[in-house]
Each structure stands twice: as structure tokens, then as C-alpha cells.
Amino acid sequence: MRIHRIALEPQALAEKQYDLQPLQQVFAKYKYKSGSLIPLLQAAQEHFGFLPAAVFPAIAQETGVAESVIYGVATFYAQFRLKPVGKNIIKVCHGTACHVQNATALTDALRDELGVKDGGTTPDGLFTLESVACLGCCSLAPVMMIGENTHGKLNGKMALKILRSIKNDALVLTQ
């Protein structure tokens, strides 16, 4: 069970205000459709990058499903996040093929460089580090995915090189 995915820190609940107006369109699209809870949560996450607490009562009101049930669904699936994420999500594949080709070394190197644990986000909000089950690119193992880009046949050093180039690009942008 993925209990570790649930945010336990109370400060996570005291969050800033989010504008829920854009969700109305999604609500309209799925109105009266049965089984729409997961697509609604997916759409909300697509919009905010994660599921802010305010989303739950809004969906509850719209669908008539109890908030507790919605929370239950959101915490059941690996896709849903209850905490804000970084601009770049690094997904390190830990499928079988990647595991036997030493994906652990990849995660270790990234963790040390970013100074965050698995699932954590860097203080500058640039990166979130995640381990995922399988990206389906087994013949290129070990693999990581940043945004839409998949990088294969990596080792720790190569992964850090990619990371630093993204960091540099971000720096150039802010200057």
C-alpha cells in the first residue's frame, strides 16, 4: 500500500487559494456521465499540476460523491499527487530490466545531486524526483524520463549531465 504517498504534514493543508473556475468546463463535459470521478481528478491535476485540497469539496458538490470517497480514490492511484510538484519531473524507471542494469545507482546519484528523497521536490521548485515502475523502454535500460523526453542507457554521470543542462537552461531564462 502506498501510505507513504499521502502527505502527513499539517502545513500541506494550509495552502494558498486556487482558482477553481477553470474546472467548471471539465465539470460540464462529464456531467451525468457515470464513472467520471477519475477523469475529473485527472483533469484537475492536469490543470494544477497536483490536487489542491480545495478540489475535493468542489468535486464532491458537483458529483454528489462524498469527499472521503474522492480522497480514497485519489490516494489509491499512483498518478495523483496531493503536494505541488517541481517544474521538471524526473521519473527514474525501476522496472525489472532497469533494476538489473543498476537503476539504483541512477536514483542515488540524482538524490545526492538534488538533495531530495524519492518523491521530493527541490526548494527552488525546479525538479521533482520520482521512481516509477516501468516506462516500457526496457531495451534501453536504465532509463529516465524528464517531461516528455526519455533518456536511455544511462549511468549516474550521464544523468547528472542532463540534469545540469536543464538547470543551466533555467538559469539563462531567469537572467
Partner: protein, 595 residues
């Protein structure tokens, strides 16, 4: 055979091809074409399964066709100039060809492709190309000849096709149950929630030939009397979802899907794609249905089976992607043709994702009954870096390890089950002597423990206890009774879990205990990891005569555990050493010894 006015260049753009750089190659080809110096038609296809040679580019011209491997963007222009400009066959990059024996012919020609028949040969985003390769012929024939539903079911039954998702249940029988259920509404579901780590057969199929899956579902819908189909696909497969949606749109615009499909008054069928939200357990039928209904994906007790009460409490038939893709072929070619392949109880072919420490990793489709050794050595080219074949893992977290000495095992449901592993959905991860079997068992158990939905106590808590024991063994704190404890827990979890996830979760531990017991004993009693993987059990030292005193290791050591003068012998302070292996990696003189 189409007439070629000018050479046709086809780029393989599956997920893995794109990851290997195929999209950049394609863009480069667009530039070259725009420059106008060389004349050719440019087309896309999907993965042909030869992942280890990606990016792949195929060129068709008057001489036939040649497939070139490793065609990265920096190589493609020169290749084109030689092949098209100078009319030369560039043999050093040719992996397969129509007119001569190329380097990787064994990989492709050793296969028999039914489910993957069109993968890597058609543009998956073009319904016209799919139709040139007989897409929708089977369903059109059934409707035109008004073949009774029962006859269609009998054909599938006689073909001997068994569920390719891993269960191995007779597809025809499953259809018959759903057909016999009386209801105003029935559903067809395609299970594309391919969650096994190390498996990508379904992804490749959906990306490469989505129409064959749609057609299979239509035939299923006709046979059991359903008018709605749902494809439950992993959200981690964005390209597969995109291509499925394109295929559905095309089929709708041609009138193949929707009310009165193919203009037939008595047949209506619609399909939509439902994105999964990431839960391995949703590969189980009843959990998958709960997930489509918008609930937590938790399995429920059976009976009633989905064939009686499934999606929205209506009769539902669920099959896996590969099973659906086989259906049109069976209808087109007859049940005898399919049943002629394979073994007595396992008919037809099976797709495997061949990965791990194998030279030629990729997707292969072989007739049932071929041996594991044939797949690994004849198709896969053997083990990487000349190492020794140790074991192969079949069936992912629900499966088990088959050791090298059982490499003669035939790949069919019953022979594989007899070893303690399962056929599974087709993941085949090859391991060499540098893989620690306890570490591997721990890897799978961590996965199932993480993915357990928590409903059954034994699966929820039992797997956690087993994982703790394995963690302690690999940490060098294993106890003498641990093997016995693992066996007891495994037995209890198997017998007291509701669904396949729990019932099979102990398999990776049980099979490694069965075939590699001495490795467990080495960890527990000698506190050694024979494969040199489990860090806390490793001991690093420096060979007194091989060390040249170059100081590289001392500089790299993160804990300053290495002392020594320049050009003098270095030593490792065992109290400071954290077994990170950095010194071993950087030493150019093989002076760092691990044991």
C-alpha cells in the same frame, strides 16, 4: 506489391525508437527531402521489435528492401547519399534485407508473427495502410456472410487460443459464458493496463497496429452481443493512447464503429479509451472494472464472474491486447491454421519482451513450444559481454526464475507452470552471474508490497513481513530460521488472498528458494553475496602487488577511507568504508578486490 516510382524511406517511430533518437532522424530526413537533392518518399511506421538496433530506417526501391540499424541523425544523410545517390547497399549498417543475408536476419526470421503481423510494416496512423494489410476484413466477412455468433465463438474455441495476459484461460470458453448471459446490455473490455515491470508487448502492439485490436474487439462484441467496448490503457503510455484515439476516429469516420457499423442494421459497436491512473492491481479483471466505474481499483470475490455481472453489473468480456490482436487473424485464416501452431495444450504464438543482460533485446513472437534456450541464444544472440547465463525471469512480479539448467524447458503454459514460474504476459528478463537472486526477489516483493491494494490481510501484511526478512538477509543480518519463515509466509499468502496479485506474490521468492537456495544460505550463514550485489556484505581491499600508488582511488573515496603515499601501496580503512564501490570503478589496474 505497390509500384515504386521513387525510393521509399520508412522510419520506425515507436516509444523506444523515439527514445533512441528516431524522431530526430525523422526530422533530419524531412530537411534532406526539402533540400531536394535526393528524391524519395518518407513514411512512418512503428516498432518492428529490434529495439537493440534502434533507430531503424527501412529503404524500399527497385532492388527490394533493406533495413538499416543505428540510424541516428548524424548518420542518416551519408547513408542516404550512398544508398539512393550512389545506388550502393551499405552493408555495415544493414540489419535485414530482402535480397541478401544481413547481420540480424536470425532475429527476425527466427520468429513467427501473428499478433505482431503488421507492427513495423504499416503506418499505425493510417487506416488505409492497415486495410491494405487486411484490417477489418474478418469482421466485414462475418457481417457479409451473416455468420452466426455461435459459429464465431466455436472458431475461436477450436483455435485453442488462451488468454495472453497471463491467465491462460480458453478465450472461446470465456466468450461463450458471456454470450450465454442474458442482458439488454453487454460490454467488451480490452485490458491494456500492462503493469508488469519489464514487459512492453502491449505497448508496442497498440503503438504499431491499433486497428487489429479494435477489429478483435468488434468481433468479440458481435460474438457475445455487446455494443460497447472500453480499452483500459495505462496513462504511462501516451503514444499508445494517442494512436488508439486516432484509429478510433478513423474507424468512426469510415462507419466501421458506431450505430449500424459497416452499414449493417443489426450490428452497432462503439469503443472508447479509458486512461488508467497507475495501479498494478487494476490488471485484475474485477479491480479493472471497479476502476472504470470510478472507484478504488480493488478486486472483489468471484463468482459472480464478469461474464455474468461485470461493468455496471452487466455481462462483460475482458481480454488482453495480444489476445484481441490474434482474433482477426484466426477468423481470416481459420481455427485449424492457428491450432496447427504450438503444442497440444498451448496453441499459436506468444509475444515476449526480451530484456535484461541479453545481447539482442527486443520484442519477439515465437510459436509456443520453442525452448527458452532457443529464444535466448538463437533469437537473442546470447548474454551481454560474454558472461554466463544464470536464469531467466518469466511473468514479472507474479512469476518466477527459471535457472540456466532448465533452459531446455518448452515455452508453453503447462511446462512453464511446472517449473514454478508462470507464462505471464510475456516479460522475459535475462540474468547473468552478476545478478543476485535474493536482491531480485526483494525487488519484486517490494513491488507487490507497494501495489497490494490492502484488502486481504495476508497480502497486505504478509508481503511486508516477507520483505522485511529479505531486507535483513541482504543487509547481512539474516537469521538461521529465515528461510523457513519465508516459506511459511509464502504458503499463507498464496492460500489466503482473493486475487491473482496476492496469490502469486510469493512466486519470485519461492522459485529463487527452489533453484538458488545456496545463495540464500551464503547470505545468511557466510554473510556473503556471491553475485557481489548486496553492498553491506561486500568487503573491499587493495591488492598489494597490483596497486601502483596512482592515488586515483584515494581522491575519489567519498569518506576518505583510503590512505597511501603516491607510488606507494594504498590501503582501505574498513571502519570508514561504506562499500560504495567507487574505488573499484575508478581503478585502472584491477587492484581493488571485492569479496
Amino acid at each position: 506489391m505497390e509500384v515504386l516510382h521513387q525510393p521509399k524511406v520508412i522510419v520506425g517511430l515507436g516509444s523506444c525508437g523515439i527514445a533512441a533518437g528516431a524522431a530526430k532522424t525523422y526530422e533530419r530526413l524531412l530537411d534532406i527531402k526539402a533540400a531536394g537533392k535526393l528524391n524519395f518518399d518518407l513514411a512512418k511506421t512503428s516498432c518492428v521489435g529490434m529495439c537493440y538496433k534502434e533507430p531503424l530506417v527501412e529503404i524500399h526501391d527497385q532492388r527490394g528492401w533493406v533495413m538499416y540499424g543505428d540510424m541516428t541523425e548524424d548518420r542518416i544523410e551519408q547513408l542516404l547519399e550512398r544508398h539512393i545517390g550512389e545506388n550502393e547497399i551499405v552493408e555495415e549498417y544493414a540489419v535485414s534485407a530482402s535480397s541478401f543475408k544481413a547481420s540480424e536476419d536470425d532475429f527476425l526470421k527466427g520468429q513467427l508473427r501473428i499478433a505482431l503481423r503488421n507492427c513495423g510494416h504499416i503506418d499505425p496512423e493510417s487506416i488505409e495502410e492497415a486495410e491494405q494489410h487486411r484490417a477489418y476484413k474478418a469482421i466485414q466477412n462475418i457481417l457479409a456472410l451473416e455468420i452466426p455468433a455461435e459459429e464465431v465463438i466455436q472458431t475461436v474455441f477450436d483455435s485453442g487460443l488462451r488468454g495472453r495476459g497471463g491467465g491462460g484461460f480458453l478465450t472461446g470458453l470465456k466468450w461463450r459464458f458471456a454470450a450465454q448471459s442474458e442482458s439488454d446490455e453487454k460490454y467488451i473490455i480490452c485490458n491494456a493496463d500492462e503493469g508488469d515491470p519489464g514487459a512492453f508487448m502491449d505497448r508496442s502492439l497498440l503503438e504499431g497496429d491499433p486497428h487489429s485490436v479494435l477489429e478483435g474487439m468488434m468481433i468479440g462484441g458481435y460474438a457475445i452481443g455487446a455494443s460497447h467496448g472500453v480499452i483500459y490503457c495505462r496513462a504511462e503510455y501516451p503514444l499508445a493512447i494517442k494512436r488508439l484515439n486516432i484509429a478510433i476516429r478513423q474507424a468512426k469516420s469510415k462507419g466501421y464503429l458506431g450505430d449500424q457499423a459497416f452499414g449493417n442494421k443489426n450490428f452497432s459497436f462503439d469503443i472508447y479509451v479509458k486512461e488508467g491512473a497507475g495501479a498494478f492491481v487494476c490488471g485484475e479483471e474485477t479491480a479493472l472494472i471497479a476502476s472504470i466505474e470510478g472507484q478504488r481499483g480493488m478486486p472483489r470475490k468471484r463468482p459472480p464472474f464478469p461474464a455474468v455481472s461485470g461493468l455496471w453489473q452487466k455481462p462483460t468480456n475482458i481480454n488482453n491486447v495480444e489476445t484481441w490482436a490474434n482474433i482477426p487473424w484466426i477468423i481470416n485464416n481459420g481455427s485449424e491454421a492457428y491450432a496447427a501452431l504450438g503444442t497440444e495444450k498451448s496453441k499459436g504464438t506468444k509475444v515476449f519482451a526480451l530484456t535484461g543482460k541479453i545481447k539482442h533485446g527486443g520484442l519477439v513472437e515465437v510459436p509456443m513450444g520453442i525452448t527458452i534456450n532457443d529464444i535466448i541464444f538463437k533469437l537473442g544472440g546470447g548474454i551481454q559481454d560474454g558472461k554466463k547465463f544464470k536464469a531467466v525471469q518469466l511473468g514479472g512480479p507474479s512469476g518466477g526464475c527459471i535457472p540456466a539448467h532448465l533452459g531446455h524447458t518448452a515455452v508453453d503454459y503447462d511446462s512453464v507452470n511446472a517449473t514454478g514460474a508462470i507464462m505471464g504476459s510475456g516479460g522475459m528478463v535475462v540474468m547473468d552471474e552478476s545478478t543476485c537472486m535474493i536482491d531480485l526477489a526483494k525487488f519484486f516483493l517490494r513491488f507487490t508490497q507497494d501495489e497490494s491494494c490492502g484488502k486481504c490481510t495476508f497480502c497486505r501484511i504478509g508481503t511486508k513481513r516477507m520483505l522485511e526478512i529479505l531486507e535483513r538477509i541482504t543487509d547481512g543480518k539474516g537469521e538461521a530460521q529465515d528461510i523457513e519463515r519465508l516459506e511459511t509466509l509464502a504458503d499463507q499468502i498464496k492460500n489466503n488472498s482473493l486475487c491473482g496479485l496476492g496469490q502469486t506474490a510469493p512466486n519470485p521468492v519461492l522459485t529463487t528458494l527452489k533453484y538458488f537456495r545456496e545463495e540464500y544460505e551464503a547470505h545468511i550463514f557466510q554473510k556473503k553475496c556471491p553475485a557481489k550485489v548486496c553492498k553491506p556484505l561486500l568487503h573491499y581491499s587493495i591488492h598489494p602487488t597490483k596497486c601502483t600508488g596512482c592515488t586515483v582511488c584515494a581522491k575519489k573515496c567519498p569518506t576518505n577511507a583510503i590512505d597511501g603515499e603516491r607510488k606507494g601501496l594504498h590501503t582501505i580503512n574498513q571502519e570508514l568504508c561504506i562499500q560504495c564501490g567507487e574505488c573499484y570503478t575508478v581503478c585502472r589496474f584491477d587492484a581493488v578486490v571485492v569479496d
